[in-house]
Subunit: 245 residues, 2 copies
């Protein structure tokens, strides 16, 4: 499994992803699920992927090749982010081996993947899309300023409560880390290290990137101090009528 | 769907359950899922149920009948909580219509239910069990001091971080309400009002009971102040290296 979250606030975009892949409980590995595409001064994109690893690796390889060979269709060839999403969606559809076709047999393997694509093209505001296995996509919006893929339930309440378009970019990034940490703590299939990337509005490049491992001082401090802060918050909630406080 | 959580701390037991049942998105009703069985001075039990409503209603009716008619097997007839769990498990198995038998046809209806049973029998410490559709059961323990049934993922992180055997009973109850509120906010299939019951160790009765609706001052205050506390907690987390704070 996987957990990735993308957040769109006025100040920019936050991307955070875990790195655990597993074919089963006894086949667990570390693979990067957050991929950067940077064209400084022109555009910057991040793609996060959940689902079949062969599919997403093929997708990323094809996207990089298309840019390198300056093919007619490539990440740099569009003036609008929705067109980039359409293009990535087409490559995604092509990268999913159709296991249900007769020649491949119905072997029950799911080769689908779901993506979060975010970034900014020069002349446009930043944006973020969830791209489905069919290649179609939905955008984040002020009412829904975050997108999640993979094991999304554990980390959703904190995002629901905190993320607004006005949230500061670094606060959104801290919230994303807490959301990841909550998921890692509650579900074995999501694991450290965590990749974190920020794209600040107008930067047209990757503004900040970090990899947080369990022994990263920042992660350890967030991990430790968050539990303590929650305990204090619970203790300071209103009392019950019979407590007389 | 449903979300119920039971917590076992040194000071006693907490039970919290939502009240939304739905056959589909356009068939939503309010039904009680938390049931009290009180034999003051002798024993007190709470049963919470997730799954098929016909099954759980039949189960509860049978448990009440067995007590009223003072049948050989009834909730009052045991000296150990694990025996009560075994008995409730048997009634549960009997109450699940076997839809997969040839005469009923394979109609795809799931008649299973999962229960949380907690309480105290005089002379024993309080305890809590999760009873599976097969009738077997597992107990809560100091390492796993809470049990959840139904839509459990959204509300798990807060429990993982806070609940310990030493947690005060009322703090455990506040945590349970936050866990319910997080789930209600993030998932349409779980809804208000929330039933809350506390059994304090040694009381041998229902120590406290509350129904919290959206307009209950306590729920509204918890609902409102929790978001605010979380925002403050996030803002006070350690800064990133580039923030220079």
């Amino acid at each position: 499994m996987t957990y990735c979250v993308g957040i769109e606030v006025d100040e920019g975009l936050v991307f955070a992803a875990d790195t655990r892949t597993n074919a089963s409980l006894d086949d667990v590995r570390v693979h990067r699920k957050l991929h950067e595409f940077e064209f400084p001064g022109q555009a910057a994109f991040v793609i996060m992927a959940a689902g079949n690893l062969a599919t997403t690796q093929l997708l990323i390889s094809r996207l990089r090749r298309d840019v390198e060979e300056q093919r007619e269709q490539n990440l740099c060839a569009y003036r609008h982010l929705f067109e980039v999403a359409e293009y990535v969606g087409r490559i995604l559809v092509d990268s999913q081996v159709k296991s249900s076709t007769p020649e491949h047999g119905h072997d029950g393997i799911n080769t689908q993947a779901t993506l979060i694509l975010g970034g900014q093209v020069g002349g446009e505001q930043p944006g973020m899309y969830m791209i489905y296995p069919l290649g179609n996509a939905i955008a984040a919006s002020p009412e829904t300023p975050f997108l999640q893929i993979g094991e999304s339930k554990y980390g959703k309440p904190i995002l629901d409560r905190i993320i607004r378009p006005q949230t500061r970019l670094e606060d959104a990034a801290r919230t994303a880390i807490v959301s990841l940490d909550s998921t890692i703590r509650s579900n074995l299939s999501v694991g450290l290290p965590v990749d974190l990337v920020l794209i600040r509005t107008g930067d047209l490049r990757i503004s900040q990137r970090m990899r947080l491992a369990g022994d990263s001082p920042l992660y350890a401090e967030i991990h430790g101090s968050w539990s303590h802060k929650l305990e204090q918050a619970v203790a300071s909630l209103p009392g019950f009528p019979w407590e007389g406080r």
